[in-house]
């Protein structure tokens, strides 16, 4: 008896497939929180991916119109809980802009050091768990080991490891304890080689590249249309960073600092790693580029922290006085966006002249970044959904607020 040999690709056509709805989440390890995605699939191909959010909705905006601005700071911590300092800063700057309250020079540099440290911590989670999503466990351990060191540093300044409420309206809650800057410098010295280790185990890993390069390509126009920001926007080659291009009230925090905006322009990144070119399979705007932007931003953040330590040591004056809980806000409204690790985090305060705002608003970066998910997943494979989702680096606490 002879077995007829059939071209396996042709044989696929004989298999009749139905469209199946696959429910992913809300409890799924690769959704990074309580996110439910309903996938309409045809075999292995995703025809549509619809995110369902709101599982973590805690009415932050409603609470904000019942408490005074300083009392709302702990609620901002719980938005992007992987970058609480950046959330504190966004809200503090927004209210300070309404109050026309300028923080002392020393507080400015303190803030730069703190938020850039938190940016590194957030990007480490993004990179580590991204490897985990794609089946690589080792980078996660490297990334979280370093993140713990950052959290130790934060614990020393404010006692908390995740929800800090440290940067506040008018400055910061406390100055750095004695010897903290040396500890911070020691951390930077230890962390610098780890970036290369992470590159070795993840960035240049052939399997990782095959899972991410050319997957979930987000063209620049679509990124702008969907309001994507942060590494998601810059991963599509848009040279845009609020630390340089944002509101003057925010950008002057970085006055005198030197840093690159990490985005591929004219085919190259501002930081190049000799001997490690961008993989040939990578297309601008794909998962690999979004991941890579974050990794390079860690290096830039280290540069900023080093400059910050130097400037902080030279700066005169105190670290600012937090405003009183009963401080009346002037009548008016202010909207201010800052460059949080995950994108542009906007806060708005509308005041009727009382101590409690009439309305507060939090514009979430992850909210907009997630809205592009269905566009990126459509036509791809089911196995690529976690790859796309992980590359967007969302935090559900911020999406649902």
């Amino acid at each position: 008896m002879t077995i007829e040999r059939v071209d396996p690709e042709l044989a696929e056509f004989d298999v009749r497939t139905d469209e199946i709805l696959v429910n992913m989440g809300p409890q799924h390890p690769s959704t990074h929180g309580v996110l439910r995605v309903v996938l309409r699939t045809d075999g292995e191909v995703v025809l549509d991916a619809t995110p369902h959010i709101g599982y973590l909705h805690r009415c932050a905006e409603k609470i904000g119109e019942n408490v005074s601005p300083r009392q709302w700071i702990p609620y901002t911590d719980r938005m992007d809980y992987l970058a609480g300092m950046n959330m504190n800063l966004g809200w503090a700057l927004c209210v300070e802009k309404l109050l026309k309250l300028e923080v002392p020079e020393k507080a400015r540099h303190l803030r730069v050091i703190i938020v850039e440290l938190n940016r590194i911590a957030s990007h480490l989670v993004a990179a580590g768990t991204y490897g985990l999503d794609l089946g690589s466990f080792t980078p996660f351990m490297y990334a979280f080991r370093e993140r713990e060191k950052i959290y130790d540093l934060f614990e020393l300044v404010c006692g908390a490891r995740l929800t800090y409420s440290y940067l506040t309206i008018g400055g910061a809650m406390a100055d750095f304890p004695a010897g903290w800057l040396q500890k911070c410098e020691r951390f930077l010295a230890e962390f610098e080689p780890v970036v290369d280790e992470l590159h070795a185990v993840l960035t240049d890993n052939a399997i990782f590249i095959r899972r991410t390069a050319g997957i979930g390509v987000l063209p620049a126009e679509m990124a702008i249309d969907y309001g994507c920001t942060g590494p998601v926007l810059r991963g599509s080659g848009v040279d845009w960073d609020l630390r340089r291009d944002g509101d003057p009230w925010y950008t002057r925090m970085y006055d005198g600092y030197e840093f690159h905006v990490i985005a591929e322009t004219d085919g190259r990144y501002p930081i190049e790693r000799p001997g490690h070119p961008v993989p040939r399979a990578a297309v601008l705007g794909d998962c690999w580029h979004r991941y890579y932007v974050r990794m390079l931003e860690c290096v830039e953040s280290m540069r900023l922290i080093r400059q910050g330590i130097e400037k902080y040591a030279r700066a005169q004056g105190g670290i600012g006085e937090p405003i009183k809980l009963t401080q009346k806000l002037p009548k008016g409204e202010v909207y201010l966006e800052t460059e949080a690790p995950k994108g542009q985090m906007g806060f708005m305060v509308v005041s009727d002249g009382g101590a409690i705002p009439w309305r507060v608003r939090a514009r979430s970066s992850s909210f907009c970044n997630l809205s592009v998910l269905s566009e990126l997943c459509r036509g791809g494979l089911i196995a690529d959904v976690p790859a796309v989702l992980g590359s967007l680096d969302i935090v559900l606490g911020e999406i649902d607020r």
């Binding site: 709101g54 249309d225 309001g227 409204e333 909207y335 009439w358 608003r361 909210f367 907009c368 809205s371």
Partner: protein, 174 residues
């Protein structure tokens, strides 16, 4: 481009339908008639000198006096605030539109405004959020459903007269 120049360009084109300009606020804004929002939005995005291709945020604010100690100016109303930006020209603009709290003054009938989701895709989710929490119906939105609250939720929590339900699906509210 300076705010005054932007205002001039928009006013030339839309005339009467630009109902207010406030230049002295911290974030200066223009106010447009509700029916003209989508049209103005398209102009703001496509005009080469403006190029507001980035919609940052849509905010709904309910102005209704519920506390005698907190006076509000003007009639009870809902304000929609659109924050726009341009990556090309690096300028920003705030556009507002004012709606009645209820359509035709009938309580329970949500006010209506043309959707801008066809102009910026960001607006799709943002308008859903405003609909969900503030209670504004966006005409022409592809799927205006609740986004943060459950589908069967009643009321719009960010309205000032919102009362927390006593019970939801057997879960006690108070």
């Amino acid at each position: 481009m300076e705010f005054s120049e932007i205002v001039k360009l928009v006013a030339e084109r839309f005339g009467e339908r630009i109902v207010g300009v406030v230049a002295e606020a911290i974030d200066p804004w223009i106010e447009v008639a509700p029916a003209a929002t989508a049209e103005v939005a398209r102009f703001l995005r496509d005009e080469p000198r403006l190029r507001f291709e980035f919609l940052h945020c849509i905010t709904g604010v309910d102005y209704l006096q519920t506390d005698p100690k907190r006076k509000i100016e003007g009639q009870p109303r809902i304000e929609l605030i659109y924050h726009l930006g341009s990556l090309v020209h690096k300028h920003r603009l705030v556009v507002k539109t004012t709606l009645p709290r209820w359509k035709d003054g009938v309580e329970g009938q949500l006010p209506e405004v043309p959707s801008v989701s066809g102009v910026w895709s960001t607006a799709n989710w943002h308008e859903r959020e405003v609909y969900d929490l503030v209670g504004v119906r966006f005409l022409g939105h592809p799927a205006l459903e609740r986004i943060l609250c459950p589908d069967d939720w009643t009321g719009h929590p960010l309205r000032k007269d919102y009362v927390m339900p006593l019970e939801y699906q057997g879960i006690r509210g108070r």
